[in-house]
Structure formats: structure tokens, C-alpha cells
């Protein structure tokens, strides 16, 4: 069968449009140019569609006819479809059967700057309130834990501890070792100039134990566990599992958020301690392998540089970071919308919120520790 064709034939004020050939979406949709040109040639008050030579057809024909209808409506022309195959007429009738719902097509309004700033400010205020309310509820939930009235499954807690602890070891090992290695390299280049290579041990030891162990573990856990929490809770929201808990009188915060917070609060200090050791080993690899320091000298130097205060401070920070990551992950998960893309957004927001919270907390701790002389 030949390709789609449209021929015009004038009979007085009636324009006959002969639609023929095979109409296929893959071959494209013919334009209305020739029809519009023909309209301009003389007075027309009626367009008669003739489909005697029509072969196979699909949506390309229907789309063409919809366009034609629109053009004829503009020119106030009567369209006679009786010459078209029944299937085409029925589908066109079906497309016109339900009128467009008024207001369905939202008009794009270009709002002035102030009109956009206002709602954005109110949204930010509401988000802030929501965050504070969530932190408050989480605190109350912790209170219920200590009074023994918080309801959650102990088996869930153990699973979360395993996920946030043992299962995180490989990535924490890799990142911490590399951070220790990088710190040592950066230090070695400078310190070697003064013949003070041994102080690489001090640099790596103090940096890892005091700051980097806790912070890098926090960032890894934000991307790994915080994101997972947001995705889990977001998916549960989509499938109405959280609603089901609420209707049974079980507080979702106790049942879902509390065990996750406890798991991270317990595991983060341990992971941080582990990251400190692995980071120091990473530094030692550079010190011993590249700077020709003896293992004993490196150990003794590290031991002398790192104090219990550094260690306790770092572990305390890690605990706080753990709670922040759990709070951010769970908050974003609980705030998630009811679609798969909303879960994706919640996951991204959880990671961003966690990392921002960790960096801000790190800054606050730096000032606080300086003031307290730790």
C-alpha cells in the first residue's frame, strides 16, 4: 500500500478531502499545509472527508484529523466525517466524548519575585517547625525507651545494629585507611623539608582520632545507612505500612525510628574507634614504607601525641553524628511523598541533611573544644 496521501477536490463551497494510502506513526504525520492553501483559494463552508482509498491506519491519521478539526473550527467550517471508516469515526467521537474539565489545564502564571519569595519562606518555616517537632518527638520516644513504654521489636534492633555495624566495616576500613594514607602523604611532603618526618605520626594520629575518624565514618554512614533509612521509611509510606501502624495505635516513631537511632548511636562510636585505628595504620604504611620510619618509632610517636581526651572527644562526636544521621534519615523518610520518585527525593535529602548536620556539628564541636581546652 502506498504511503499516506491527502488530495483536495473542490465542488462549489464544499472541499472534498480524499484521504488515502497507509497511515503509520513511524512514517510521520502529514502537515495541513496543502489543505490550508486550498482553503485560501476560494470560499468554503464545508469540508467533506472521503476515506475510500484508505489502507491501514493508526494514531497518525487520528492526530491529523484532530488538527484538521481544530483548523476548521477556527475558520468556522462544517466537517462531514461520514465518508470515513466507522472505526475512525468512533474513535474521534470517543476522543470528543468527554469534554476537557474546566481548570484541568493549569495556566502557567509568571509570578513576581516577592510572590514567589513569600510562599518559599513559609514553606521553609514549616519545614523548620516540622524538623523541630520531629526532634522533640524523637526525644520523647527516647524517654519512653527509658520508662519501658516504647514499643518496638528487639529483633529489629539487632538487625539494624548488624546493618549499621558489621556490614559497614568493609567500606569504613577502605575509607579510613585511605584517609590516613592521604593525611600522611600531605604531611610527609612538608615535614620532610625540615627533617621532621617523624611528626607524620602526630599529624595522622591526632587528625584521625580527634576529627577525621568520626567525620569520615559519619559521612560514610550518612550515604550508606542514613539513605537506606530514608528509602525504607519512604517505601513504607508509599505502601501505607506507616498508616497501618498508626491505626493500630503503635507510634511509628517508637516502632520504626527509635531502633534505628539506637542502632546508629551504639555502632557509630565503635565504628569511629575502628576507623581511628585503621586510619593510623594507613598513616603508618606511608611512614614506614615511604619515610623509612621504624614501626616502633611510629608507634611510640603516635602514642605520645594522642591523648585520652582526643580519643574520648572523637568518640563523643561520633555518637552525636550517629544520632544526627538517624534523625535526618528517618525524618526525610517520614516526610516522603507517596510515589517512587518522592522516595528518591527523600533519600537524596536525607544524605544532604545528614552531611550538612555533621559538618555544622563538627564546627560547633571545634569551637566548644577550643573553649574548654580539650
Amino acid at each position: 500500500m502506498s504511503s499516506a496521501s491527502v488530495d483536495t477536490e473542490r465542488a462549489g463551497a464544499t472541499l472534498h478531502l480524499r484521504i488515502g494510502g497507509s497511515w503509520d506513526l513511524e512514517a510521520g504525520i502529514p502537515t495541513l499545509d496543502s489543505f490550508a492553501a486550498e482553503l485560501g483559494k476560494g470560499p468554503t463552508d464545508r469540508v467533506a472527508l472521503v476515506g475510500d482509498d484508505l489502507g491501514a491506519w493508526d494514531s497518525s491519521l487520528l492526530t491529523y484529523l484532530v488538527r484538521l478539526d481544530a483548523l476548521c473550527a477556527q475558520s468556522q467550517l462544517e466537517v462531514d466525517r461520514s465518508g470515513l471508516p466507522e472505526g475512525v469515526r468512533r474513535l474521534l467521537a470517543l476522543a470528543e466524548a468527554v469534554p476537557e474539565r474546566s481548570g484541568a489545564r493549569g495556566d502557567a502564571v509568571d509570578e513576581p519575585l516577592l510572590a514567589r519569595i513569600g510562599p518559599a519562606t513559609l514553606t521553609s518555616r514549616d519545614a523548620g517547625r516540622e524538623m523541630i517537632a520531629f526532634v522533640g518527638e524523637a526525644t520523647l520516644s527516647f524517654g519512653r525507651l527509658f520508662t519501658g513504654s516504647a514499643r518496638f521489636r528487639r529483633s529489629d534492633l539487632l538487625v539494624f545494629i548488624q546493618q549499621a555495624g558489621a556490614e559497614a566495616l568493609p567500606i569504613v576500613t577502605l575509607i579510613s585507611f585511605l584517609v590516613g594514607l592521604i593525611l600522611a602523604f600531605v604531611g610527609a611532603v612538608q615535614l620532610q623539608q625540615f627533617g621532621a618526618s617523624i611528626y607524620v605520626a602526630d599529624l595522622v594520629g591526632i587528625a584521625m582520632v580527634r576529627e577525621m575518624g568520626a567525620m569520615m565514618t559519619g559521612i560514610v554512614m550518612a550515604g550508606r545507612t542514613g539513605a537506606a533509612y530514608a528509602a525504607q521509611l519512604g517505601s513504607m509510606k508509599v505502601t501505607q505500612e506507616i498508616d497501618a501502624l498508626r491505626t493500630m495505635g503503635i507510634a511509628p516513631l517508637d516502632f520504626l525510628v527509635l531502633p534505628r537511632m539506637i542502632a546508629l548511636a551504639i555502632m557509630m562510636p565503635l565504628l569511629c574507634l575502628y576507623a581511628d585505628v585503621v586510619g593510623i595504620l594507613g598513616g603508618a604504611a606511608v611512614g614506614i614504607g615511604m619515610l623509612d620510619l621504624s614501626p616502633t618509632a611510629y608507634y611510640l610517636q603516635t602514642n605520645a601525641a594522642v591523648t585520652v581526651g582526643h580519643l574520648v572527644g572523637g568518640i563523643f562526636k561520633a555518637s552525636v553524628y550517629g544520632v544526627l544521621i538517624a534523625l535526618a534519615g528517618c525524618l526525610r523518610g517520614m516526610q516522603s511523598g507517596n510515589s517512587s520518585s518522592a522516595v528518591g527525593e527523600a533519600t537524596t535529602n536525607a544524605v544532604v541533611t545528614s552531611i550538612v548536620a555533621i559538618i555544622v556539628a563538627c564546627g560547633i564541636f571545634a569551637v566548644l573544644f577550643y573553649v574548654l581546652g580539650i
Binding site: L25, E26, G28, I29, D58, S59, S60, L62, T63, V66, R67, E86, G87, V88, R90, L91, L94, A95, E96, A97, V98, P99, E100, R101, A104, R105, G106, G337, N338, S339, S340, S341, A342, G344
Partner: protein
């Protein structure tokens, strides 16, 4: 007897060593509205997933016309898949895309239409299912029934030869369900498409079904086939009668 469009030969469906259904043999004629029916969990949706190639049969073959779908090479299989339209139980619209984008995606992938033309075709498809003007809505902004209709518009995007419906009435009120049934019939009549519907809704079965197969989880095979009203009137198996008579009693 019409021209055979889909032929299922000696089909066995299994998950690993667990056989769900065996020895399924039936033919769907071109232009039929074919119902796959049976109680919950009998394997209706699994059969549909076999028919659309999401699961490979443990044994047996599925033919579309004179093409063996089961043994088709990847390229031939892809070309055959393009002639299918599927409406999933939940609508399965892509939530990050507007309705027009949902419908436009397959058009953009498999035709050379310009973005403007794709938009026009998408608008037409939405108008066919009564959603004119909703092109720029996201799935989350419309009701469940509208999502179903938008899913149908997407299923029709490439003017399929076969339309598959998985529980089209699920989650719909009786009026919406009835309207969807009418729409299915209208599309079958005007497009000349073959329609395969998985359902256990008796109202739909009798309203739209021109032929059917009844799956029985007990014997793990089909125990009846034929037009639903004929099965109701003449089939003597008590399981078929019990299933089909619920509607009369209720």
C-alpha cells in the same frame, strides 16, 4: 471461528521446581476479548506475564499469528513486544513523568515524530480515555481511576495489536469499572485489537468477555474454556459453576 491471533500450546508455568499450572492449551482469536479467570492466587497474572514475555515458560510455546514468541530471537521478540499494550494492575505510570511524557516515551523511542507531534498524539490518547487537558499532570496528582485510564492511554501509545489488562477493575468503584469495560469494548471495536483481560470480576467477565479460560489451582490446569455465558449455561464442572454463579446469587 475467527483467525487465531494468540496460540498457547502445552504451556507449563513454574517457579523453580514449583509448578503453578501445566498443560495450558488455548487459542485467542483476532478481535476477541479473551478473559483469563479463576480464583485469587490461581496464576492468572502469572499467565499474563508469560504472554507478554516477562517470564519464560518452563515448558510449551506461545505463538502470535505464525510467530513463535517463546523461541523468538531478541530482535524479533522486541518487534513483537512493540505490538503489545499492557495495562498493569496499579497503572504503573512513571511517577517522575507527566501523563504526556508517560505516553510520549515509547513514541519518542520507536518513532521519528517530533516532540510537538508526540505531544499531539499523547493528547489524543488522553482524550480517548477521557483525560483531555491532563497532559501536564503527574500521576500523583490524579485519582486511582484516572491513573488506570492514563495507563490505558500509555498502553495504546503505539497502536498495539494486542491489549493486555491485568485486573482492570481492581480498586475502581462500580461506575468507573463499568466505564472502563465500555472503553475496552469501544477500543476493541474501533481499533480492531485483540484484548486479553485477567480478572475475577464477574460483572466485567459477562459484560466484555467473548471467550475465556478458567484456571483451577487445585488441579493446576485449565478446566474450562469458551464464552463466559456459555460456560455459565452449559458447563457442568461444579468449580466453574460455583465461580460464575456467585454473581447471580450476589
Amino acid at each position: 471461528m475467527g483467525e487465531a491471533h494468540i496460540t498457547v500450546r502445552n504451556l507449563t508455568m513454574a517457579y523453580g521446581s514449583f509448578v503453578l499450572m501445566r498443560d495450558l492449551d488455548f487459542t485467542v482469536d483476532r478481535g476477541d476479548v479473551f478473559i483469563i479467570m479463576g480464583g485469587s492466587g490461581c496464576g492468572k497474572s502469572t499467565l499474563l506475564r508469560h504472554l507478554i514475555g516477562l517470564i519464560q515458560p518452563a515448558k510449551g510455546e506461545i505463538w502470535y499469528g505464525d510467530h513463535n514468541f517463546t523461541a523468538a530471537e531478541p530482535e524479533e521478540r522486541e518487534a513483537m513486544l512493540r505490538r503489545f499494550g499492557v495495562l498493569y494492575q496499579s497503572g504503573a505510570l512513571w511517577s517522575s513523568m507527566t501523563l504526556a511524557e508517560n505516553i510520549g516515551l515509547p513514541l519518542g523511542e520507536f518513532t521519528d515524530l517530533s516532540p510537538k507531534e508526540i505531544r499531539e498524539v499523547a493528547s489524543l490518547k488522553l482524550a480517548l480515555v477521557g483525560l483531555k487537558g491532563f497532559e501536564d499532570y503527574f500521576p500523583s496528582q490524579i485519582s486511582g481511576g484516572m491513573q488506570k485510564r492514563a495507563g490505558l492511554a500509555r498502553a495504546m501509545a503505539l497502536d498495539p495489536e494486542v491489549l493486555f489488562f491485568d485486573e482492570p477493575s481492581a480498586g475502581l468503584d462500580p461506575i468507573s469499572s463499568h466505564l472502563l469495560d465500555q472503553l475496552i469494548l469501544e477500543l476493541r471495536d474501533s481499533l480492531g485489537a485483540t484484548v486479553v483481560v485477567v480478572t475475577h470480576e464477574l460483572a466485567s467477565i459477562f459484560a466484555i468477555g467473548s471467550n475465556s479460560v478458567f484456571l483451577d489451582p487445585g488441579t493446576k490446569t485449565m478446566i474450562a474454556s469458551g464464552p463466559p455465558r456459555e460456560l455459565l449455561a452449559h458447563h457442568d464442572d461444579p468449580r466453574v459453576q460455583e465461580f460464575l454463579r456467585r454473581g447471580e446469587k450476589g
